[in-house]
Amino acid sequence: MNRWLLVCLPVLLLGLPFALRPAPAPEPERQVVVVTPHGEAIRTEFGAAFAAWARRELGHEVGVDWRTPGGTGDIVRYLDDRFGESFRAISGMGRGEARTFNDPKAPADDPARRAFLASAATVGIDVFFGGGEFELRNQANKGYLVDAGLQREHPEWFAPGIMPQTLSGERMYDPDGRYYGACISAFGIAVHHDRLAALDPPGAIASWRDLTDPRLLGAVVIADPTRSGAVATACERVLQSEISAACADPEHPTPAELERGWAAGWDVLRRMVANASWISDGASRAVRAVARGDAAAGMCIDFHARAEAEWTSIASGGRPRLAFVVPAAGTSFSADPIGLLRGAPNRELGIAFIRFVLSPEGQRLWNYRPGEPGGPRRYAIRRLPIRRDLYTPEHLAHASDPEVDPYRDAARFTYRAKLTGPLFPLIAMLTRGALLDPREELGAAWRAIRDAGGPQRVPQAAAALARVPVAYADAAAVLADAKSHPLRRLELLRGWGEAARAQYREAERLAREGR
């Protein structure tokens, strides 16, 4: 081949992505700057629909400047960094002096805190879209989010019949208007149809406990909850579900009921991990393992499973290979919010964007099928709108998931933050230390128990397996201890792992001895 032609080849290949790059849209007159962890489908659909809405309602061309520094954790680090920088520049304070500017626990008369809350510190971004209620509440408490005023502007949207303030015990919007739920998510189970059909006898999965079925040994996938907030939340829901089941009145539990429910919850989590063939490093990879059929079931967040189901359906010509199961009496529905950032450079446009997202027109994008009137143009987003007035027959006729109604299903479970909320970081740590780190020993013990005829046939082994890593009564103190120093946390993790390994080896020995 001509030598210079060969030299030109890499240049030609290099030009390919540039040639295929979509033609840039006409430059809008104004732009709203939105930071988000949402994926491309949501950005594309909401960007285009908002532009059309603004053209009609505001009378001019408006675009969305999406900022995607990464996942929610990346965005939070970015905001901390940039707000700190902006505040120090505005206030003239040094790093040490301004240290408490974003500390919600700082005294009310703390100069840095007071100055920050009165300031127009800015990160050059108008809106924070997505990231989960827990994280947006944290950002609001730091003072990064401010009231967008929609409760005053549209009080009818915040009526219980449209957007209740709480659903299944979870907050749907901030009473001070600093963030509003934009859509609803639930934690549950992704199941692979062919794998379940191949079980002997074939089985359905309807609850968290079903994931502990010995028939699923080696067929479950779990993500590490210390690396996936969604899975950590799902683990918390499992514990809540068992605690609620153990209490005569979950609003007023007795200490004994709490201990019983806590132990039962850990037993469910332990057996799920014992059934796991693989621990993934992220929730989406776990769902993908189910979609491929490498796992029969796995914990997940609803829209991950629905997105994978959508894709397998498209690829296979209409036959989705997996489905999302809402665990019976085992999960709550939480809001994925949107909020206005302090010092928004395009404040009015930012509020307009939030207004659009909460309007019926914006809400239709979440679950309408692509191409339906008022629906998304290309992508089926398959998330659940937060507005209750979208769950009527006339809307559900256009929906991708018409059988799902969070307002109906929420009645089956109530999340009680006071029971496990303060222990949230400990749940992820304990899952890792006592279940994931010693998973080889746990799997061996579980296999020995199964081979011996099941937990009922070897009660001593089952009891040894089920020992609770940390009692509910001690959990808060243990968490405080773990938070005292990074080294202490590591020592605790190692200690839990060593104790659990010894416990699982004992359970395996007892099972082999038939006890």
């Binding site: 030598r3 210079w4 060969l6 030299v7 080849l9 890499p10 290949l13 290099l14 390919l16 992505p17 540039f18 295929l20 790059r21 979509p22 994926g39 491309e40 995607t68 520094p69 990464g70 954790g73 990346d74 680090r77 970015y78 062919d194 191949a198 080696g218 590490d224 690396r227 063939s277 693989w278 621990i279 993934s280 490093d281 992220g282 989406s284 990879r285 769902v287 993908r288 491929r292 059929g293 490498d294 997105a307 994978e308 959508e310 894709w311 690829a315 296979s316 010509g317 290979r321 780190d437 120093h485 990074p486 080294l487 590591l490 020592e491 993790l493 190692r494 792992g497 060593e498 390994r501």
Partner: protein, 561 residues
């Protein structure tokens, strides 16, 4: 005066951007983040916790198995290529080096499609009547360790192949002849002549493969194998500010890598001098007949077929409509390719990678050419140390350097390097320093093969230093430098550890990080990643072909020096 100033600048750059980051990473492993004081606590935890010990043990085992496997692939190929002549040998040489543009972590993407429960291998077996879809064999479950070793060995064997082939080519056939005349049998010749004389080549290639496999992050990460120290270090990155465990694990890795290097050198490289007396290079090649040529191509084809199999699966995934329970996809589509190349992150990442890799190549070229010149032409005091430091990145795991670079901005006076603001300088330096050895070796080879008499003659005729550089040195070195530069550029484009650790904000991500990011997108994310990876492999293959067209082959970089 000018040459001494340049010497000082190059030494300072290597000290600041090579020795300092390693020192910084090591120091961070011994620092209490709360008090800033010295602590052994994190290193103790890295050693005491069975999970981290298992991570270390697995990484070492993977490195050892990968090196052995790579050796088993490379040695017959090296013997074939260095001792024989057969039809199509030129093409075979290029094909054997193809894995250099097929990064192992990309191959891992294809493995799941082939080896999954509902993958191509089971479809083939079930089609042949072996097994059924109710109970398909799970090839990956429990075999991720083996999968990593195989993928890495198939990706890394070219390093061992090149150095071993170079050693075999330099073997003096008279020694073998003398041994045979002396009555030694084939086994004795192998044990007493071949192996001792090949030791330096085996050591040079083996160390590169071992250290690379020991610290390789992309492949175990892509295959979801978390009991691996590089993956554990990467997982700890998010909280590295508060939790210094990842740095402590880096300290452990560095000690092990250095220990392995010293042990291997003691074991294999004792007879380095044997190579210094270059034997009858290229002499005594055996011409293969038709049957021999067929066997030679069977060997080359087998190796290349195996090496390319995971990447071929990636290319198939890039155009597959649906690949479930089939030996091949049920249909083909260009959707993923167009989605990938038109993806909003792709063009920016290509631009970023070109920027980082371009700057890195320029840096490596300038530094590498200078170091090569200083150690072959000038030889000032300390030139051996300079040459050794320039080769050090081959022995220091990439993830250790990356962690060192990440810790540098916290040092007084280095805040301007903060990768959160802009990682360009750090990434360019990281890529450039990592690839410096390739350019140093290429340039050294060029200098060694360029008669110094030409420069001396020009000097006698009154040519200035600049004129000699422009009219004699650079034209004669151009081919070597181009080969070294393209190697440095290509490997920079595929760099994983530095990219994942130093490029934090999405708009600064290079192509490797975008590939990892695309695999996380739900739906057809992995297919888009495969399509992008296919483009990247084609681009790099074209870059290698261009490098070959420019003159010297890539292999020559390893053969010299």
């Amino acid at each position: 005066m000018l040459r001494w100033s340049a010497y000082a600048v190059v030494a300072a750059i290597l000290a600041v951007f090579l020795l300092l980051p390693v020192g910084t990473a090591v120091a961070a492993g011994f620092t209490d983040p709360a008090s800033g004081g010295f602590t052994l606590g994190f290193v103790r935890e890295a050693v005491l916790n069975p999970v981290y010990r298992a991570g270390l043990g697995n990484a070492l085992l993977i490195a050892a198995c990968t090196t052995l496997l790579a050796g088993a692939i490379a040695m017959p190929a090296a013997w074939l290529m260095a001792r024989h002549r057969f039809a199509g040998k030129g093409l075979a040489e290029v094909l054997l080096l193809a894995p250099l543009v097929l990064p192992p972590f990309v191959g891992a993407l294809g493995f799941e499609a082939v080896l999954g429960r509902h993958g191509a291998l089971n479809a083939l077996l079930i089609g042949l009547g072996i097994g059924d879809w109710a109970h398909p064999h799970d090839w990956l479950a429990g075999n991720r360790f083996a999968a990593i070793c195989i993928i890495e060995a198939l990706g890394l064997y070219p390093f061992l192949y090149l150095t071993t082939a170079a050693s075999i080519a330099r073997l003096d056939p008279a020694l073998l002849e003398a041994a045979r005349i002396g009555g030694a049998g084939p086994l004795t010749v192998l044990r007493r002549v071949w192996i001792p004389l090949l030791r330096p080549g085996l050591f040079a290639g083996g160390v590169v493969v071992f250290v690379w496999a020991f610290t390789e992050l992309g492949t175990p990460l892509m295959l979801g194998y978390d009991r691996h120290i590089a993956v554990q270090v990467f997982a700890g990155l998010a909280e590295a500010e508060k939790n210094r465990l990842p740095f402590a694990q880096v300290v452990v890795m560095l000690v092990i890598a250095a220990g392995a290097y010293v042990a291997a050198k003691a074991l294999f490289a004792r007879h380095e001098r044997a190579l210094a007396s270059k034997g009858a290079q290229g002499g005594g090649l055996v011409q293969l007949d038709g049957r021999g040529t067929a066997l030679a191509w069977l060997l080359v084809g087998g190796i290349c077929g195996l090496a390319a199999a995971p990447h071929a699966a990636v290319a198939v995934l890039a155009v597959a409509q649906d690949w479930y329970r089939g030996v091949l996809p049920s249909g083909l589509t260009t959707l993923h390719l167009s989605d990938a190349l038109a993806h909003p992150q792709v063009v920016p990442s290509v631009l970023q990678s070109l920027k980082y890799s371009g700057l890195a190549t320029a840096l490596a070229l300038v530094l590498g050419t200078y170091v090569a010149w200083a150690s072959t032409r000038w030889r000032p005091p300390g030139w051996r140390a300079l040459d050794l430091v320039a080769m050090l990145p081959l022995a220091i795991p990439g993830i250790i350097l990356a962690f060192g670079y990440r810790a540098m901005p916290a040092l007084p006076g280095f805040g301007w390097l903060d990768p959160v603001r802009d990682p360009t300088i750090l990434l360019a330096v990281a890529y450039g320093i990592r690839r410096l050895p390739y350019v140093v070796r290429a340039a050294s080879a060029g200098y060694e093969q360029t008669p110094v008499a030409l420069e001396e003659a020009a000097a006698i005729c009154g040519a200035s230093g600049w004129l000699r550089l422009r009219r004699i040195v650079l034209p004669l070195l151009a081919a070597s430098l181009a080969a070294g530069a393209i190697l440095a550029f290509s490997f920079s484009m595929l760099e994983v550890a530095d990219s994942l650790i130093l490029a934090e904000r999405r708009e600064t991500w290079p192509i490797t990080k975008v590939m990892f990011g695309l695999t996380d997108i739900l739906g057809n994310g992995p297919a888009i990643a495969c399509a992008f990876a296919t483009w990247a492999m084609l681009f790099l293959a074209a870059a290698f072909a261009a490098a070959s067209a420019l003159g010297r082959g890539v292999g020559s970089n390893f053969k010299a020096g």
